[in-house]
Amino acid sequence: MMTNKLGLYLHIPFCVKKCGYCDFLSYPPGEGEKKAYVSLLRKEIRLWKGKTDCPVDSVFFGGGTPSLLEGQELEQILECLRDVFVFEKDCEITLESNPGTLDEEKLRDFKSLGINRLSMGVQSFQDDILRFLGRIHTADQALTQFELARKAGFSNINLDLMFSLPGLSMQGWEKTLRRALSLEPEHLSYYGLILEEGTPFYQAYKEGRLGQEDEELDRRQYWYTVDTLSGRGYRPYEISNAARDGLACRHNLKYWSLSPYLGFGLGAHSYFEGRRMENTRDPRAYQRALEEERALSEEGECPDGFFCPPCVEKLHLNTRREDMEEFMFLGLRKTEGVKLSRFERRFGVDFFQVYPDQVKQLKGRGLLAQEGDRLFLTPRGIDISNSVMCEFLF
């Protein structure tokens, strides 16, 4: 099911308030800022008019909190996208949402725009944990909004949950997971807390206010999740994601499969025609670049006629080796792992010629397994996936 169809990512950098663990590019919007941002986004999108006829089969509104936008604003963006790109009929269109920003009317609006996949940042069904995380909603609100989303017609809903949190016991996590499953979502994402530098959580941890990380409990919660979901008819298809059959997130899979995607908005990333691009993270620079159409990156002019939007700050043409590395370390996040035949088709070279020793060694250490064409992480390999993945860097 790997296609070379295009995915589109739209970054909405607005949040009601920043959570203590979050290091994504997001902030509370100023007066009129959402409107202005949407208009810049449309400008950026329109630059692609006539640049590619690659069909689009996934759109992802991420953030921040895209559900902070009004239906009308999303409509303008989608309208613009449909005008510029060729959409597949069954295109997956995902919107990330915070339960604290939803209501019945908004949900109905979203659905009517063709958004067919709703991702809800529930994180926990324990109110004390939600407060600790700095979330703006309660467990009850999440339950209510889920039901309303169903009522509005969303038949593909993801719940984002967080485990390995300070103060989250094994029982607490089991309870959150049970509550989530009782809603019968089509998709679940389960992320262990990562203390990212620069966040209040990181600071608190440094100062000893968060206590020690408990790796043992982290792994217990993780494997409990994977086992429970497997037993309940979900397929864990990626390290942190499980879905009902056929409902794996098409968009996210593009990242793991080295498929092309274009990112729009502040700090958005693209991988297109072998290039990695990164938009500026500075709102003023973003605005200037688009309004004056003056390239931020000096590499703006590509000799081969590749189009690089002016708001791109970093442009990098991946070498073949970098593509191989990424193919491996991204691909191994998938439960099915990487397909050797796909590697060989893509790079025109025998896999074991490129990685002669690594696989043998990693298999020997019980971290990697092979079944026919598939090379994948063992459970132990998943636990320490970074040390496995870095073996595939040259």
Binding site: Y9, H11, F24, F60, G62, Y191, G192, I194, E215, E216, D218, R219, I239, S240, K254, Y255, Y261, G263, G267, A268, H269, S270, Y271, R276, E278, E325, E326, F329, L330, R365, L367, R380, I382, D383, I384, S385, N386, S387, M389, C390, E391, L393
Partner: protein
Amino acid sequence: MNGSYKDYIRNFCIIAHIDHGKSTLADRLLEKTGLVSERDMKEQFLDNMEIERERGITIKLQTTRLVYRGMDGKEYILNLIDTPGHVDFTYEVSRSLAACEGALLVVDATQGVEAQTMANAFLAESENLAILPVINKIDLPSADPQMAIDEIEEMLAIEAQDAPQVSAKEGLNIEALLEAIVHRIPAPKGDENGKLKALIFDSYYDNYKGVVIYTRVMEGKIRKGQMIRLMATGKVYEVTETGIFAPDHVPVKELKAGEVGYITASIKQVADARVGDTITDHQEPADTPLPGYRKVQPMVYCGIYPAEGEKYEAVKDALEKLQVNDAAFVFEPETSTALGFGFRCGFLGLLHMEIIVERLDREFDLSIITTSPSVIYRITKTDGTVEMIQNPSNLPPAVEIAKFEEPIVKAEIMIPNEYVGSIMEICQQRRGRMKHMEYINEKRVVLEYEMPLNEVIYDFFDALKSKTRGYGSLDYQFIGYEPSRLVKLDVLLNRELVDAFSMIVHESKAYARGRFVCEKLKEIIPMHQFEVPIQASVGTKVIARETVKAYRKDVLAKCYGGDISRKRKLLEKQKEGKKRMRQFGTVEVPQEAFTAVLKYDDK
């Protein structure tokens, strides 16, 4: 005075405690005598090696000739001879001092007499130099020149009421100092018509000229074309150039008794022109060499291995280059099971070793691993054969050893009297035997100890300095071998012996040492996917053990919004970290482990 040229020469050095302004003062003297214009002045002209600046020590000497027109209207030649500053190089210091008639003893007016001030003053006195105290930093608000003067008189018993008071930084009273140098430091003696005797006080290798010898002519003359003989090595050379330091090399026709300068004679390596050796005329040699020559010999050995195996040749080249310039440094190839191909290298002491290692890194961009330093042990086997062991790994099995001997040094320790108790204690801990104790004056004491060299090389000097707040000084000399109860301490990682960590220690220290090494390695070895036992053993007996726990997870969840750059960076960092590791069996050991286990402090 008979009006000889010698009356207008002053040979002197500057001695000071670290940071008391020695280099700044030297710079100022250069500037005031017009040698270096203020504009061209590089900060601290004299200390020119990067490592020296950082450590605040001088290793390679800089010698400069200043021309000063005195108040009497006469022109004087002032030869400023630099001195190195560490116990590993005490011998070199003594030879530099021997080239002088006087020493400026610089004392910081805000600090007074300190650490090396005393040690250096004493060294200078023992070379019979005229000592001219100089009070520096008088421009500082906290300066108390009278305090400094009183301390000099009290603690060093040196008359200091007339000491020039200067600010090297501000250039204050530099003329007065120059006058004092002329009047209070004696002119050199020596007969320029006598048989040639010239002291080698430093040398270095120049790519074009070969070895450049820094010399002080004591008797006779030396000039281009002359056949000379180096009395200690017996080697004969033809002089190709004689010159002075002005401050760059300026050739002159000849160097005469009392003068300081350089000569070149197509000498291939500095080991052939040893510091302290006497240059004489080949045809008409002097009867006796100048006193005080000592063949500098490596006392400490360690293995040096390229961090990346393929750099072996590059390391070899670099060691060869360093050796042509360093008579005290030796090396030969060796192999280690753990580290592969490398070199066994000999040094004067640990600082010398650290300097070489740092130079390999900075000047040659080579990353290397060093094994535990060792002295040379003498083993008499049961079959009667005698072996000299520089590498603990080469030690024969205990059953084959009939006699195990270690080198003993005579250590002269000079300290202020209030520290006698604590220093005697650290000497005792290091198996020292006190031989002698003498009060030089009411404040200062010299302790003479016989100590095993392997107790001196690790951290004795550091311990001495810290226990005496820097006032202690140390000199040591090899005196012979003595039987001792020594054992080989091995380290096992995940039950496999890592030869690079093996060391020879006294039986009584094995437990403490073993514990220390295990604890250190536990701190440094990263968590693996499995438990890593760290054991220290003597023979088959495990005497200490620690365990590095296995880690449970190493997984990063997100690549949010398709941003894989962070993931890539993280993986690259991890990969890079692995590269800096040495693989021993299944265990990865960071390179810093090898130096960390050496920083032993048995408090």
